[in-house]
């Protein structure tokens, strides 16, 4: 990306959500949400329980279909695209309730994450030499490097479900990174982590951003959000009530009333 493009991307938004709408039966989970995520940021998405954060993430990644509105990701419209096509465009994600390929090895999980960057199909798989062997080897090496990147290289051969909770989260992150996403969506990555694990996570999130990915994360740990996020969007009842830097959000009277209840010290 050249400098002019970069500025343009920052101004117009790398990810632009406009008027997003999602209903479940009679309940409106997301009602006309607007959100702008700048390229290269770590962007936080916060709000009380039931404010529509996870629903928003699920719509962006194509697991839910929006009832209205638009999502523009680096120039491509995401609404009405199936989940696998959105992943192919460069959107990776992790899940609030971890969704690993639990019966497969940790290394296989990350190798599967490489799916969109590799090509061997049912026919080329039958010819073991040449391009197929090379791609398999490269996939394995890339997956091993990523496991090293998240600090799990020694668990490569373990069955994914046998890992401790915090490690499973890191496997999920490595799997998402294997597709070299330009946008990584993280749904409560610190949930269930102890303070040490959370510190490691903060450092990991920054290293991921330094690899060139933009991060959008839902998180309840306000300390983590305030520490790591350049910008934050606050949701309440499926609508955007504020967007800005951590300091701006912490001072915003609407946010304090609606969400923080005045209890937080902006520190």
């Amino acid at each position: 990306m050249n400098a002019a493009n970069e500025i343009a991307a920052r101004e117009t938004g790398f990810l632009q959500v406009r008027g997003l709408l999602k209903r479940f039966g009679g309940i409106t989970a997301v009602s006309g949400l607007d959100m702008t995520v700048r390229g290269g940021d770590i962007h936080g998405l916060i709000g009380p329980n039931g404010s529509g954060k996870t629903t928003t993430l699920n719509i962006i990644s194509g697991l839910y279909r929006a009832d209205g509105g638009s999502i523009s990701f680096d120039g491509s419209e995401l609404v009405r695209r199936p989940a696998h096509a959105i992943a192919q465009l460069g959107v990776g994600r992790t899940f609030q309730n971890i969704r690993l390929f639990a019966g497969l090895s940790v290394l296989e999980n990350v190798m599967i994450g490489r799916h969109v960057r590799t090509h061997v199909g049912f026919v080329s798989a039958l010819f073991p030499g040449g391009a197929t062997a090379r791609e398999e080897r490269e996939t394995r090496e890339y997956a091993r490097e990523l496991l090293q990147f998240v600090g799990l290289e020694r668990a490569a051969g373990s069955v994914a479900r046998s890992l401790p909770y915090g490690d499973q989260r890191r496997v999920e992150i490595a799997r998402a990174l294997a597709s070299e996403p330009r946008l990584l969506l993280l749904d409560e990555p610190a949930a269930g982590m102890n303070p040490t694990e959370t510190d490691t996570l903060v450092e990991l999130l920054r290293r991921i951003r330094d690899r060139g990915a933009t991060l959008l994360l839902i998180e309840h740990d306000m300390n983590l959000v305030m520490t790591v996020c350049e910008r934050i969007t606050v949701l309440n009842f499926g609508q955007h009530i504020a967007e800005g830097t951590a300091a701006e959000i912490a001072r915003n009277p609407d946010v304090i009333t609606a969400y923080l209840g005045g209890a937080i010290d902006a520190a």
């Binding site: 990644s61 194509g62 697991l63 199936p82 989940a83 696998h84 096509a85 992943a87 192919q88 990776g92 994600r93 899940f95 969704r99 690993l100 390929f101 639990a102 019966g103 497969l104 090895s105 290394l107 296989e108 190798m111 599967i112 994450g113 799916h115 969109v116 590799t118 090509h119 061997v120 199909g121 049912f122 798989a125 039958l126 073991p128 197929t132 791609e135 398999e136 996939t139 394995r140 091993r144 799990l152 290289e153 020694r154 668990a155 490569a156 051969g157 373990s158 069955v159 890992l163 490690d167 799997r175 998402a176 597709s179």
Partner: protein
């Protein structure tokens, strides 16, 4: 593949090649032929259920479609046997596409029910479409295969055709399992939502799995047709689909070796139990229940436990960690 595994594999292959030279009983060789034929159908089910996690109880229907297709081409159109078998295989695969497409939105029990329905419809067609299948009277006069000047007329000769077909089918299943498409299938089995969020198109992979399962069963059916030379619709019932499923589960559903072993064991078991006459089915049933209870991961799981292999899945080079000594501390 380690050197030791390779050696074991080679020894097994030589033993299998020598079988008709050592065993001269037509009866045993016939059962061996049937076992190999079933193994092919069970391998196909293994791709669909074991790899991709899609439960089908229509495998006997594809078995029948392949048998009748190859029988019809040779008996009525006078085609040579080997091309008929190839066409029957492709045809069954296409029917698999026809079943897989409308069933894509179904999973678990609903998918199982839909495939049972398809199996029943197929058997009814075989019974009632008399101009093609000769109905309940069955199709007769099916010729044995000819390779050049050689007619495969004995069970011993036919054995080699079955063995070669099984070898090809095993190779294809093994290559798929150990590369990208096999990982995608297993990802769908393990967590379809996460698979699609990873960029895997579940539709594509499930359909290919249905096509492969259909083609494998179709080839098995065609091999059966030219071995027993007589086709009757009873052989392609729901019961037969259940037997294929039991063979796969007993063998170990995710495992290629397990699928083959399960088919061979459960084909020979009734023959061994034959002296028990009508009570054999009780013993057979009890044996199956015992195997499922005591070997929850099938024969393949038992094999892994005995040889102390980790992970419990067949052809798993990944199970060896880069730093074996430190692996525990992760």
């Amino acid at each position: 593949m380690t050197l030791r595994r390779r050696a074991g594999f080679g020894a097994l292959l030589i033993a299998l090649l020598c079988l008709p030279l050592v065993v001269h009983s037509d009866y045993v060789l016939n059962v061996a032929d049937i076992a190999g034929i079933y193994a092919i159908a069970v391998l196909g089910l293994g791709i669909l259920l074991g790899f991709a996690g899609q439960l089908s109880l229509a495998q006997a229907a594809f078995f029948g479609i392949g048998a009748y297709a190859s029988g019809y081409l040779t008996v009525h159109w006078g085609w040579p046997v080997l091309p008929s078998m190839a066409v029957a295989t492709v045809f069954s695969g296409l029917i698999g596409l026809g079943l897989g497409w409308p069933c894509l939105r179904l999973s678990g029990h609903y998918l199982a029910l839909a495939t049972i329905g398809f199996g029943i419809i197929t058997q009814l067609v075989l019974i009632n479409w008399t101009s093609v299948t000769n109905g309940s009277d069955g199709m007769t006069g099916i010729p044995p295969p000819q390779i050049g000047p050689l007619t495969l007329s004995t069970y011993g000769q036919y054995y080699y055709l079955v063995l070669a077909s099984l070898a090809i089918c095993t190779y294809v299943a093994w290559r798929i399992k150990s590369t990208r498409p096999g990982r995608a299938l297993q990802a769908i089995r393990e967590n379809e939502l996460a698979a699609s969020a990873t960029g895997i198109d579940p539709t594509h992979y499930k359909i290919v799995a249905f096509v492969l399962a259909g083609a494998y069963a179709g080839l098995a059916g065609a091999l059966l047709a030219h071995s027993i030379k007589f086709l009757s619709p009873d052989s392609y019932s729901f019961d037969q689909s259940v037997i294929f499923l039991v063979m796969l589960i007993v063998g170990g559903s995710g495992s290629i070796g397990g699928a083959i072993l399960g088919a061979v064991l459960l084909t020979f078991l009734p023959e061994v139990l034959r002296p028990l006459k009508s009570s054999y089915i009780m013993v057979y049933g009890a044996a199956v229940i015992a195997m499922v209870i005591f070997m929850p991961r099938g024969l393949a799981g038992l094999f892994d436990a005995v040889t102390h292999r980790r992970g419990g899945q067949e052809t798993r080079p990944l199970a060896t960690p880069a730093h074996p000594v430190e692996a525990k501390s992760a």
